[in-house]
């Protein structure tokens, strides 16, 4: 049985890979995918805590359920926003959507 640390390290790796992707990718849909990876990483940590620290109460799994719900909602809204953006500007490239500045 691998220990808690292993799961946490996996979680950290997934989170940071997702973060890297969210920072460096230019396609808005890919950025949304990377955010999903980050959330999955968090879920791993939650479930691992639940398994190793409070195995009988399932608190961590409950959190994970809510995270999955909110993530699904977020994807729906996020993709809607991306489509709306695409409809307005014919692109989903973040390099070209820098109108939020001085």
């Amino acid at each position: 049985m691998p220990g808690l640390e292993h799961y946490l390290i996996l979680s950290a790796l997934l989170f940071c890979i997702g973060l890297t992707g969210a920072i460096i990718k230019r396609n808005a849909v890919v950025i949304l995918m990377c955010i999903e990876i980050m959330l999955a990483g968090v879920n791993v940590a939650m479930v691992a805590f639940s398994r190793f620290i409070t195995p009988l109460q399932l608190g961590g799994q409950l959190f994970t359920i809510f995270i999955i719900i909110v993530a699904a909602a977020e994807v729906a809204i996020g993709l809607a926003i991306i489509l709306a953006l695409y409809r307005k500007r014919q692109t989903v490239d973040t390099e070209k959507t820098d109108f939020l500045k001085w």
Binding site: L19, A22, I23, I24, I31, T94, E95, T97, D98, F99, L100, K101, W102
Partner: protein, 628 residues
Amino acid sequence: MMSNIPEIVFWLIPGLPLAAFGIVFLGLRVLRLKSGFAALLSVSATAASFGLSLWTGISMLSAPGTSSLDGFNWFSSGNAITVDIGLLINPLTAIMLVVVSTVSLLVQIYSIGYMRGDNALNRYFSFISLFTFAMLFMVMSNNLLVMFMAWELVGLCSYLLIGFWFHRPKAASAAKKAFFVTRIGDFGFLAAILILFSSTGTFSIEGIHQAAASGIVSSAAITWAALGIFFGAMGKSAQFPLHTWLPDAMEGPTPVSALIHAATMVAAGVFLVARMFPLFEYSETALSTVAIVGGITALLAATIALVMWDIKKVLAYSTISQLGYMMLGIGLGGPGVALFHLFTHAFFKALLFMGAGSVNHSTGTLDMRNMGGLARYMPWTCITFVIGALSLSGIWPLAGFFSKEEILAAALEGQPVLFAIALLTVFITAFYMFRAVFTTFGGSYRGRSKPHESSAAMLLPMLVMAVLAVCAGWLNATGAIDSLLDDGTKHAWTTGIFGVFTHSLTWISLLMAAAGIFLAWAIYVKRWFSAERISSRFALPYFFFINKYWFDEIYNIIIGNKLLNKGIFSFFEKLDERVIDGAVNGIARLTSSTGSFVRRAQNGRLQTYLLFFAAGLAILVLMMVIIS
């Protein structure tokens, strides 16, 4: 002693003019008083305090002594500093009270005539009342700090009254000059107060005297404190080298010159040194400094007075010279001698100024070259002016003779060089005074406007003052004033008045004065010698005199221009420009350049922000790792 006078009287003496000031000053705007009422109020308040002062003075003569009124606590800070507003009435104070209130009363009556028609009479009388209050309070206060406050108040009134016609640029700048120059002296006074407080722990004048007498104060501290006090006196009493403000102060109304710049305020320095004389007694250095500065001032100012054409300037330099005399007297013979001269000088110099004012009023000029022959048009003014001039020259039996005689005697005993200076000054004084008399009243009229005799309101105080200028000296005929201030012995009044002729000194000084008068008569009446010829013969000293030894120029160039403008001011200007402005501009530039650099981060791409956000998160986590 003096138990026959209730305490309230002492408080009323300065209190009444203060009340008059308050009412009249309010009357300027709030009450909208008639100016006649303001004058009446001011004069009657001063008259009342004159009466009370006279009462004090007379009872002091009959039963000399000191009475100290604790008054009330002004403020205290911790246990160390307690400042009371209290009064200290001793013979010195009593004499000053009489002098100040007499001159003030007469000058105020004179002002009613002189200032008639001026549209700021309320202001004038409120300032005069304030001055009277401040001066009376200053001579009475028992505490150096309170005295300093009154001292500054007196200076303020002087400023306000010199600049009374502030719409004239010369008057405004003269007021400023007077304020600044006396302030240089005040710095010394303040320093002395602090020295005394740090070494005795009290501001009380009596306390300081006791401490000095008990020997707990180091002699260096006493010397420095005494010198500081004398420095303050130099500023107020226009002593060399701080004398330059007094001639300029003549820009003020003539009654002001008579009251403040001849009789009372300028004598405050002499009074101060006399008040603190117990300190000076312990410092040979300070005493000789006082005497030497006095001697130099007496001669220097007298020589300048020789060549002035402005009648008030002649009198101003004469005042400086006479104040120098007083300082000389205090340095060599003690406060009694000086105070007696102060006493008589106040009367005859105020009289002379009143005369000059009367002349100015009728001819509209102060330049003696445009006068002449006024004796015919203004007989009363002429008579009183001549009495004043005789008194100043020291002719027996007028007041000036007796007081000057005492100073000369003290100088003869003390210091031969200073005695020679004093004697020379007697001659010069007599000469320039009668030069003024002859060019003003003798010969034929050279002006344009038609001269006329002044009104009764002006003549009456002049006549009273003339009587005083004759008689004031007789008060000391029995040695009364001397015995009040020093431990002199009393003698029969005949000894005082006629006995002087048994001394050869009397004959010498009378001879000098007479020679001066005779020379003036010979040059300006008989014209045996031409004044121009003499001045071209003695071109070099004349050059010095007419330029007033270039004091103003030297101050302007060295202190004003080199030291202040080019030195301190430009240093601070540079400091302001470079350092302070530089700091402000630098911070602004730094902010703006930081901003223009940092705004690159604000590029509108959310991912850049996310990167910074992640970096912040990383830093936070790292910090927690390091801390734990």
